[in-house]
């Protein structure tokens, strides 16, 4: 025995150790693989020996070889042997090797359970430590299950070194064996307040990772984290917590409000950039989740933007990069704040670092406006020229197109400019995005009718110079634009100046080298051009030229008939035969042009991307039903730990798809039908979407005449710049004109008014061309007017204080409308300046800030839920009003399955989905977590609107708390006031108003308000706000106001500072009721 040991150690002296192996490999650079294979043979020999030291040495070398890419899993058993050594030195080698190459598929792992357990409970802390470290890398579900208890005990070990490792590894255990989370969690929570900072940090780490997977379940820990955040000084811990808060705050906006202050303090106080950055990030997340209603909201945004600016200006590229990254988050919700730093962002485009340039590009995308689009794109074009490396240049190209085309070309005011940009972009060498440019050209040419003439001219030049694009084989990506060019020239050939020349260009032999699909378009459009040429010549009675054209086609087309591409071949032979036939007719002097043209008659219209939605789903076809069984969710085990703390119903489990029963299916089908009924994009009797985009007065806006005496001779001669200049001039001119008009008026009135010399607003910039968007559905249409219920998805509580803002918005809207109107009038040269000015006078000027007002009245309330409501009519339908109800969960429980029902009267009825019975209730399309509010809209049909009315109703809902769920009911009375049938209808023409009053159709009535002591403008504002009136004119001591009912009744008020109201309306009972309601409003003040 002794001899054996001695022999072993002598052998060892001749063994290579790790250093020898490394040295050997370095000395065998030429035949490294061969050398390593001999080494592996040696290692195999060494592993066969009994001596653990030899084995350990061999395993250590294997770990090194594993790094070089050699599979060492064959030695897994030897690794386990080394792990079980009683010596720390060898054990550590064993565990290291195991952590590098063991995984869930390693079968020997199951042999290690007892060994690891023994090591975990070892009296030596480093044995335990090494085992924990190793285990963290190769823990399997089995190991996690078997060792969870042992590790949990270690979380309370006396040594902090072991405690922190045990805490950290628990995360891995939870992942592999979710059942362990519940029993271990209390202890884990305890460790958040461990005296040792390392252990505390580890606990924060683990909980943050858990919370990232399922934030909802960890909301309850927020107070504890909040305490840690305000007390801890460890930046690592702070960063983790602040990041965690960033993930939690979207779920609980109240948390966000609390966070703002301490975070702001940290931003001001910390010197650590990493902490500063994370604070800014979380403040941004908070502000996004609050979205409105924060009092010092803009101050926080300002602070963030300001700090980010410092980061971006820093010479450290990392800070610059992160600053831009965070800036783009702000951009989404507060574009204005970022836009003011445009200079800085544009500077970043010059940065040497590509990642920074790309970030800056992303930002620019969100920063463009009508005003700065041309300028920004010009800068980008300069960068395109300078850019080295195709990737970045391609990125620039796609960004330019993205920027210009975003939201339906919203920011483009001059499409000639855009076409020129696209043409310039075709010069790019080796770009992959030819098809992108092509599709833009097609899109613009089709949708912007006014641009076609210009586009066709440009495209003809492109075709003429096609050899420049295709000459270099490297440029094959760009030849896609020829597809667009050929199609545009063919389709809109009536705009071509010289169709013959273009036709000739399209039939050049070189075309045959283009890709097949482009040739096909060439051939097809050559035929269209042919038709145009024929028609042109027939008008001139010049049969010779027409015959020449036919001959040209007959000469050139055979080349395409021989094409290898079937599509080209087919089209070419078809058209060739056609032309031959035409030629025969021509020789007989038959007029053929009209008939040939008829072949291509009819306009091709764009199809809206959402057009498919207009096709109703056939009865009985369930698009949501699985055709095959859904794949099983492999992640479900990851999912499970989330539910452990949940106060949530079991619907959480992902596998629910498979368990859908018939009833559920039926319910879904029903829900979908209801949704379809509410979906404004479904074809049904809705007087809807068209009106949205008739921007008033567009046709009167002078379109700049572009001097085309310098046509593009070479495609891509930079000329888009001229548009920038022209556009500026145009705006200058318009602005000047506007000013002039204003001045004129001012002089006329002889009254001094504040000059509106503020910066040009977005609305003031009139587009030179209009995109044809009739076929595009605009999202605004889907507003509450159409649906019975508009599902509002967000769980953010409706801010009570936001009413003030709402009012402001309303005012802004009015003002906007006024502006539009005004422009309109300018062009018509109406002599109604007086009336207009009185409107200006009548707007509620901000003499004193108005107290916040709300139109929402309490509907009903109990200990679980509070409902407030508001009723609004709309212009579209004279027999419908929309009731908006805000549901607020006041309890600590989850409210779900809310059903809203109203007992209809003869006059007013709740609109239910088709097929539902007259007494069926409507499901409220959301659930309410504790403390959350949300709004739902219900449409009612009304017949007579002259009397107020009350409808009884009930809300039923299920209260779900940890242990139980109960069914609750809340009765309410909906009060349809006459006011709710009035719609704020601005009346701009005092003349018309006066005429209306004089007409004698209106019956009068009057009212005195007692005990009112508020400023007159407040009084007016209240009437406007609560009773949907607008001010027509205000002269010192009195004001005329106007409103209209949904059924078109005119209601006119003359309000005097003596607080008496004279009123006229064509429906006396309606007027009486409205006046009563006004009286009531003011009796409450």
């Amino acid at each position: 025995m002794a001899l054996k040991i001695v022999k072993g150690s002598i052998d060892r002296m001749f063994d290579k150790n790790l250093q020898d192996l490394v040295r050997g490999i370095r000395n065998h650079k030429e035949d490294e693989a061969k050398y390593i294979s001999t080494c592996i043979d040696e290692i195999k020999q060494e592993l066969k020996q009994d001596n653990i030291a030899v084995k350990a040495n061999a395993v250590c070398k294997l770990t090194y070889l594993q790094m070089l890419g050699y599979d060492v899993s064959w030695a897994a058993f030897n690794i386990v042997e080394v792990m079980s050594s009683s010596k720390f030195t060898y054990k550590r080698i064993g565990y290291l090797a195991a952590s590098q190459c063991f995984h869930e598929g390693t079968d020997v792992i199951m042999l290690t359970t007892n060994q690891i357990r023994k090591d975990l409970s070892s009296p030596h802390q480093y044995d335990t430590g090494v085992a924990l470290t190793g285990l963290s890398c190769f823990v399997t579900p089995d190991l996690a299950r078997d060792l969870a208890n042992d590790i949990m005990t270690l979380m309370s070990h006396t040594k902090p070194y072991i405690r922190k490792k045990a805490v950290l590894i628990m995360y891995k255990v939870f992942l592999k064996y979710p059942e362990s989370l519940r029993p271990a969690f209390p202890r884990l929570k305890e460790k958040l307040e461990d005296p040792d900072p390392g252990v505390q940090s580890a606990a924060v780490n683990v909980i943050c990772e858990l919370a990232r997977r399922n934030p909802k379940n960890y909301l309850s820990l927020a107070p504890l984290f909040f305490k840690l955040m305000t007390s801890s000084t460890n930046n690592w811990v702070l960063i983790k917590i602040i990041k965690l808060f960033g993930a939690l705050t979207p779920l609980e906006p109240r948390l966000g409000k609390k966070l703002i202050e301490p975070l702001t303090n940290l931003i001001h106080s910390t010197s650590a950039m990493s902490l500063l950055y994370e604070c800014v990030n979380t403040v941004i997340a908070v502000l996004i989740s609050l979205s409105s209603g924060m009092p010092n909201h803009s101050a926080s945004i300002q602070l963030c933007v300001q700090k980010l600016r410092i980061l971006i200006e820093d010479s450290d590229q990392n800070l610059k990069y992160l600053g831009l990254l965070a800036m783009s988050k702000i951009l989404k919700t507060h574009p204005k704040s970022v836009q003011s730093h445009k200079d800085l962002i544009l500077q970043c485009l010059d940065d040497k670092d590509e990642s920074i340039r790309l970030r800056a590009l992303d930002l620019l995308y969100g920063m463009v406006s009508k005003k700065n689009l041309m300028e920004i794109v010009k800068k980008l074009m300069l960068h395109v020229d300078k850019a080295e490396g195709t990737t970045y240049r391609d990125e620039l190209l796609t960004k330019i197109i993205d920027i210009c085309s975003q939201s339906n070309y919203q920011y483009i005011t001059n499409f000639e400019w855009y076409i020129s940009i696209l043409v310039e972009l075709t010069r790019l060498e080796g770009t992959r995005h030819g098809h992108l440019i092509a599709s833009q050209m097609l899109d613009v040419a089709i949708r912007v009718k006014a641009i076609r003439g210009f586009a066709v001219a440009q495209m003809a030049t492109l075709l003429d110079n096609a050899h420049l694009l295709t000459g270099n084989t490297q440029r094959n990506g760009i030849c896609e634009v020829l597809y667009a060019a050929a199609w545009i020239c063919g389709e809109f050939s009536e705009h071509l100046e010289d169709p013959m020349q273009t036709l000739e260009a399209m039939l050049r032999p070189k075309v045959a080298t283009l890709p097949g699909h482009i040739q096909a378009v060439y051939v097809q459009n050559a035929a269209k051009l042919f038709a145009t040429v024929l028609r042109k010549h027939e008008g001139e009675t010049d049969s010779h030229a027409a015959q020449e054209t036919s001959q040209l086609l007959i000469d050139r087309l055979p080349l395409f008939v021989q094409s290898a591409n079937l599509e080209v071949q087919e089209r070419a032979s078809c058209i060739l035969q056609l032309v031959k036939y035409i030629q025969k007719l021509q020789q007989k002097k038959v007029e053929v042009a009209e008939e040939v043209t008829a072949l291509f008659a009819g306009e091709l219209n764009p199809v809206a991307p959402k057009a498919q939605k207009k096709v109703p789903v056939p009865e009985g076809l369930d698009l949501d039903a699985w055709i095959n069984k859904p794949p099983s969710e492999s992640e479900s085990e990851d999912e499970k730990p989330k539910a452990v703390f949940a106060k949530e119903e079991p619907k959480h489990s992902r596998s629910r798809h498979t368990e859908v029963d018939e009833k559920e299916l039926a319910r879904r089908r029903e829900a979908r039908k209801r949704e379809q009924a509410n979906n404004p994009f479904y074809i049904k009797a809705s007087p809807s979407s068209q009106k949205v985009y008739d921007a008033p007065g567009v046709e009167h806006i002078p379109v700049v005449q572009i001097d085309l005496s310098v046509p593009l001779k070479v495609p891509g001669m930079p000329m888009s710049d001229q548009y920038l200049k022209l556009e500026e001039e145009r705006r200058q001119k318009e602005k000047a004109e506007r000013k002039k008009e204003k001045k004129k008026k001012r002089e006329k009135r002889g009254k001094e008014r504040k000059a509106d010399s503020g910066p040009e607003s977005e609305e003031d910039i009139a587009p030179a061309h209009q995109v044809d968007i009739v076929t595009e559905e605009m999202p605004e249409v889907s507003s509450c007017y159409f649906g019975v219920i508009k599902p509002t998805v967000h769980w953010f509580p409706v801010q009570k204080s936001s009413k003030h803002k709402k009012k402001k918005q309303k005012k802004e809207k009015e003002e906007k409308e006024k502006k539009k109107k005004k422009r309109h009038h300018h062009h018509h040269h109406h002599s109604n300046a007086g009336g207009e000015d009185s409107v200006q006078n009548g707007t509620v000027e901000e003499e004193e800030p108005l107290p916040p007002m709300s139109n929402y009245f309490l509907l009903a309330e109990n200990s679980y839920i509070k409902m407030v409501y508001d009723i609004q009519g709309n212009h579209q339908d004279e027999s419908k009003v929309v009731v908006s109800v805000i549901f607020e969960n006041k309890s600590d429980s989850f409210l779900k399955s809310m059903e809203f029902n109203v007992l209809d009267s003869l006059n007013s009825k709740l609109q239910r989905p088709e097929g539902a019975g007259a007494h069926d209730s409507l499901t409220v399309p959301f659930q309410l977590p504790p403390g959350i509010s949300n709004e739902a809209h219900f449409v009612f049909s009304v017949q007579s609107i002259v009397m107020p009315q009350k409808l009884k109703g009930t809300l039923t809902f299920i209260v779900k708390s940890d242990e139980s769920s109960t069914h609750e009911k809340l009765d309410f009375k909906l009060h349809f006031t006459c006011t709710s049938y009035l719609i704020t209808t601005p009346c701009y023409l005092y003349d018309a108003y006066a005429k209306l009053l004089e007409s004698g159709d209106l019956k009068g009535s009057s009212l005195r308000l007692e005990g009112i002591n508020m400023p007159f403008h407040h009084l007016l504002a209240r009437i406007c706000f609560h009773h949907h009136f607008s001010v027509v004119e205000r002269i010192d001591s009195c004001a005329s106001m106007y409103s209209r009912s949904i059924q078109g009744h005119h209601v006119c008020l003359l309000v005097k500072t003596t607080v008496s109201i004279d009123a006229k309306c064509d429906e006396p009972s309606l007027l009486g009721n409205v006046l009563d309601e006004i009286k009531q409003t003011f009796s409450k003040c």
């Binding site: 030195t89 869930e104 940090s201 780490n205 943050c208 690592w236 990493s274 994370e278 990069y321």
Partner: protein, 155 residues
């Protein structure tokens, strides 16, 4: 979470690899090659973050690296880690190496890969940051080294 830690030299030769998620050896090598390809073509004066880790993880992952003389230290992390925090961590790790090896250079890492691993194990465990205090890390490493020495002298 940290998904992987790679150290390689200016020629892409790996000096230490530590994956916290299983990849087969050939995949590991491919990741090293591609990461090297991405990182090595970047100037030293550009930022230390790289996005679009198509290699591991996907869009949520970033490569955060530092370049010291002949070596690149690359951490692949997800969005729960603070970018600047990880940069600091790399610095802590390198300074710890410097203390433990006394003026560390590439050769130390080449010949003592195991020791580098042991040091790293005291900084990051199972993909999570274990300790950021350099003195604490160095103390634990030295205590374990002492234990190893005492075992050698036992023989």
């Amino acid at each position: 979470m940290i998904k992987a830690i790679l150290i390689f030299n200016n020629h892409g030769k790996p000096r230490l690899i530590r994956f916290y998620q299983y990849f087969a050896e050939d995949m590991q090598q491919q990741i090293i090659r591609e990461t090297f390809h991405l990182v090595s073509k970047r100037d030293d004066n550009v930022c230390n973050f790289l996005e679009g880790g198509s290699l591991i993880g996907g869009s949520d992952y970033k490569l955060i690296y530092r370049h010291y003389a002949t070596l690149y230290f690359v951490f692949c992390v997800d969005s729960s880690e603070s970018e600047l925090g990880i940069l600091d961590l790399i610095q802590v790790f390198v300074e710890t190496l410097d203390k433990c090896f006394e003026n560390v250079c590439e050769l130390d890492l080449i010949f003592h890969m195991d020791k580098v691993h042991y040091i790293l194990q005291e900084v990051v465990m199972g993909g999570m940051v274990l300790e950021t205090n350099m003195n604490e890390i160095v103390a634990q490493v030295e205590l374990q080294n002492r234990m190893e020495k005492s075992e050698v002298s036992d023989q």
